[in-house]
């Protein structure tokens, strides 16, 4: 529950506050609230702050100045004149979806299978309604990728789900997408097989005339997001990463515990697709078997548009299956930012980071927990999409 406190620090009477909060519940989008929340400089006092690094601070204050986090901690002094929000719940960093196709249907060039120089950032519709849906679910940054369908469909971009248009694209070329999974192959276009895919990739990365993005990936400047489903594909991904010098991330393995065994040896971070209701028992057990692994993890909805990313549900169901909650939470926030190389801006609540914050009424990994508010760059951005 969010309660407003007078900007000079003298709190309103309890009943007034309650009335205000009731009123807020029914009309969150109301302009006067927004007016006060629109200021990108404020302090928030919360019952608990999860910083995204695995740390939880009780009764903490987060200071947000001009859209950036100035400080976080218990018992911080609030500068005079600052607006103070009280939040009787949890504040966490905005979540990061490590792979979703949002922003239009025109993101796959179908003619050829290897098109590394195509950039999603250049075909993107920032006003696709799915961004708002992701925002409402507490996802403030999305690594937007071309849909599965080619071996190299292009490079992905990190995009904020809200904010000023000029600042929404955080990284225009954040990673090279490579599909080793069945979805990337087609029977009527070479390569049609796994080993053909391997050969095509070896040829491409071995060629001195390869495209700029391939050269960057070869030098390890551009992360490679290798989509692999079965264990055989995971093995191949690890092998190619070693051979071709990729800074690789392994995306979407069907059985994460088996993928972990391979990825651990090759020191490749794992990006998991969120569990959903209906996952097979074997899959659930495989997610649970990750336990409290210290291996870097992230989550990617791998959705193509849609009404919700299902990231928080997926993480919660994985926790139900046995994944350590702290690990799951890190995978949704700080861990994911590190995988994008954007840990200096996203994923944690720490001085200097973007003030992308999610307010919840309870533990973020409990299915019953509601998102109360979402802030992007210090500005209230949600219209109560997930809650009310």
């Amino acid at each position: 529950m969010m309660r407003l406190v007078d900007s000079r620090g003298s709190s309103c009477s309890r009943s007034t506050a309650r009335r205000v909060s009731l009123w807020l519940g029914s009309a969150l989008a109301c302009s006067s609230v927004l007016a006060s929340a629109q200021e990108a400089t404020f302090a928030v006092q919360a019952k608990k702050v999860l910083t995204g690094t695995g740390e939880a601070i009780d009764s903490a204050v987060v200071l947000v100045e001009n859209g950036k986090i100035r400080a976080v901690g218990a018992g911080l002094a609030i500068p005079a004149g600052w607006t103070v929000h009280q939040h009787d719940g949890v504040v966490m960093p905005g979540m990061i979806d490590l792979g979703a196709t949002l922003g239009g249907s025109e993101l796959l060039e179908n003619h050829e299978s290897l098109t590394p120089d195509l950039r999603v950032a250049e075909g993107l519709d920032l006003w696709d309604p799915s961004f708002a849906a992701w925002l409402g679910a507490g996802v403030t940054s999305v690594y937007v990728i071309p849909p599965t369908g080619s071996v190299i469909p292009g490079s992905g971009a990190v995009v904020k789900t809200a904010g000023a248009a000029a600042q929404r694209i955080v990284a225009a070329e954040a990673g090279l997408e490579i599909g080793l999974n069945a979805g990337a192959r087609r029977r009527d276009r070479a390569p049609t097989s796994v080993q053909g895919t391997a050969l095509a990739l070896r040829d491409l990365f071995g060629s001195p005339e390869a495209q700029a993005s391939v050269q960057r990936a070869k030098r390890g400047e551009l992360a490679v997001f290798a989509h692999a489903d079965g264990v055989g594909e995971v093995r191949l991904a690890a092998q190619l990463a070693k051979e071709l010098g990729w800074k690789a991330r392994l995306v979407g393995p069907a059985l994460p515990d088996q993928a972990l065994a391979i990825a651990r040896g090759a020191a490749i971070p794992l990006v998991l697709r969120p569990l959903d209701y209906g996952a097979e028992e074997r899959t659930r057990r495989s997610y649970g078997a990750l336990g409290a692994t210290p291996h870097p993890l992230g989550f990617a909805s791998l959705a193509q548009g849609g009404a919700e990313p299902g990231l928080r549900r997926g993480a919660a169901l994985a926790v139900r299956a046995g994944l350590d909650p702290a690990i799951a939470l890190r995978a949704l926030t700080g861990g994911a930012a590190a995988m994008l190389g954007l840990e200096a801006r996203l994923g944690t609540i720490a001085p200097g980071r973007d003030a992308d914050l999610v307010w919840l009424d309870g533990d973020p990994l409990d299915l019953g927990t509601r998102i109360v508010a979402v802030f992007v760059d210090g500005k209230r951005a949600d219209r109560g999409a997930e809650g009310h």
């Binding site: 209701y277 009404a307 169901l317 139900r320 019953g368």
Partner: protein, 492 residues
């Protein structure tokens, strides 16, 4: 076949099953007489001689696992108990006799008794979850398809060879479940409920609760909805007519039998008279032989429909939007059906009408979490479940037509409904007491209260917390699933 004594045509196995079920309901009435009202916190001394009157013997045999000895032989001790009806008890004990709950409160097992004790300190115990409509147990063909008919007994379509879905749901705390399907047809068939702890064809699995299932609103336009309604009305009217014919036939048959007896007697008498006459002089009887009435063609579907009209058989109607609800309530008014509604994913505008009618609703995932899959559909209301709860409707969350996927996640669905505004206690009720009431089984399952079956699920935390896991599941006083045991065997 002795059809003359069977005027409603109860001769097929389906019909017999119905009769059995009806008999069961009557037999189970003793529970209601004894009452399974919660005796919360009362400090029963079970060693005291004051024992509740045991049920009459012949009725007790009808209900499975009825208490033979009155003394509790099992104590679950020291748990946090959520009764399913909204009460929460810290550090409570549950006393169990012969698979039935004898009380919830503060108990000590009497000294030198051989009662078993289950230490449940640190655990949260909730009633076994009740899934009031699910296709989990049905074989593939029966779950959907186009064939239908009110004479179809869904229990006959249970897949007896695949035990994994059942055990999976049981391990997730679902202990009771009613059958349901989602076929592309109006008459979906006759459902019944069973306990998931036992192989579905075993007698002890049967929980009764037979109900006739219908589906309307398959077409989205007004005209086809109207057609569905008229079709259903004429179905029920046909059943009435059929019953009338049967009654008429029974009456005519009785008259015929009387007349025939009279005729036979007269003919006999004439014969007696003509006995000595030579053959040529015998006169033919002047009496006219009565004609046997024609028996109406047997129709089990209509027979079942008629039982629904009599209020003996509850009716579940699966539907989608407010217009369907209007039609369903119209049917109820017209025929006095004992109705519950299933689906309602786009029936936000009909919440008040449902509440006013006092009809329970069975909500599937698209109504519990609307907008999870649909995009940009203006009629989707994200707070549908909350609206029903707030309006005072008895709500049950069901896995419905996606039983294989969702039955193991019933508790997760309930937990997620909390994020859509449903209160925690209402969410728990919607998978325990709510569905039990919707099925008319509230005196046996769905709550932790005296007289109810000892179907319990123990979590090692709050059941809605992701970090909590099912530690064990108890059905009729027996532990049927234990996580420790399973984890050991699951290791490869």
């Amino acid at each position: 076949m002795k059809r003359s004594t069977d005027p409603v045509g109860w001769s097929s196995s389906a019909a017999r099953a119905l009769q059995r079920a009806a008999a069961w309901i009557r037999a189970a009435a003793w529970i209601s007489a004894a009452g399974c009202a919660p005796v919360l916190g009362s400090e029963h001394a079970f060693a005291s001689p004051q024992e509740p009157t045991p049920p009459p013997a012949e009725q007790a045999s009808a209900a499975p696992a009825a208490p033979a000895a009155a003394r509790p032989n099992l104590f679950v001790q020291g748990a946090r108990v959520l009764t399913g009806r909204g009460e929460e008890l810290a550090d409570a004990d549950i006393a169990i006799t012969g698979g039935r709950i004898r009380g919830v409160g503060d108990f000590q097992p009497p000294a030198n008794s051989d009662a078993k004790v289950v230490d449940a300190r640190g655990l949260t115990i909730v009633p076994g979850f009740v899934d009031a409509a699910s296709d989990l147990l049905l074989e593939g063909e029966a779950r959907g398809g186009r064939s239908g008919g009110s004479e179809l007994e869904l229990a006959l379509s249970i897949d007896p060879f695949d035990d994994r879905p059942r055990l999976g749901a049981l391990a997730a705390g679902v202990t009771s479940q009613a059958l349901a399907r989602a076929a592309q047809t109006v008459e979906q068939g006759l459902s019944s409920a069973r306990k998931l702890a036992y192989p579905p064809r075993e007698a002890r699995a049967a929980l009764g609760a037979p109900a006739l299932n219908f589906r309307i609103g398959l077409g989205r336009d007004r005209a086809s909805k109207e057609r569905d309604l008229r079709g259903l009305i004429s179905l029920f009217e046909g059943a009435e007519k059929y019953h009338g014919e049967l009654e008429k036939y029974a009456k005519e048959l009785k008259e015929y039998e009387e007349k025939k007896a009279e005729y036979d007697k007269k003919v006999e008498k004439e014969r007696e008279k003509d006995k000595d006459k030579p053959e040529a002089e015998k006169t033919a009887s002047k009496e006219k032989e009565p004609k046997k009435p024609r028996e109406p063609k047997e129709d089990l579907g209509k027979a079942a429909l008629f039982r629904a009209l009599q209020g003996e058989l509850p009716v579940v109607i699966q539907l989608e939007d407010e217009l369907d609800v209007e039609n369903a309530l119209e049917l109820r008014r017209k025929f006095g059906l004992k109705l519950s509604l299933r689906g309602l994913s786009r029936a936000r505008a009909a919440v008040d009408a449902v509440a006013k009618a006092g009809v329970p609703v069975l909500l599937e995932v698209d109504a519990i979490l609307p907008g999870k899959e649909l995009t940009r559909t203006p009629t989707v209301a994200r707070d549908l479940a909350k609206a029903f709860v707030d309006a005072g409707v008895e709500v049950a969350f069901v896995s419905g037509s996606r039983g294989r996927e969702l039955a193991p996640h019933l508790v997760d669905l309930a937990a997620e409904s909390v994020s859509r505004g449903v209160s925690r206690s209402a969410a728990l009720r919607a998978i325990t007491y709510g569905p039990a009431r919707a099925l008319g089984l509230e005196r046996r399952v769905g709550s932790i209260a005296e007289g109810c079956d000892a179907d319990l699920v123990a979590f090692d935390g709050d059941p809605f917390s992701s970090a909590a896991r099912v530690r064990w599941v108890m059905v009729d006083g027996e532990i049927v699933y234990a996580a420790d045991r399973m984890e050991g065997s699951a290791q490869r």
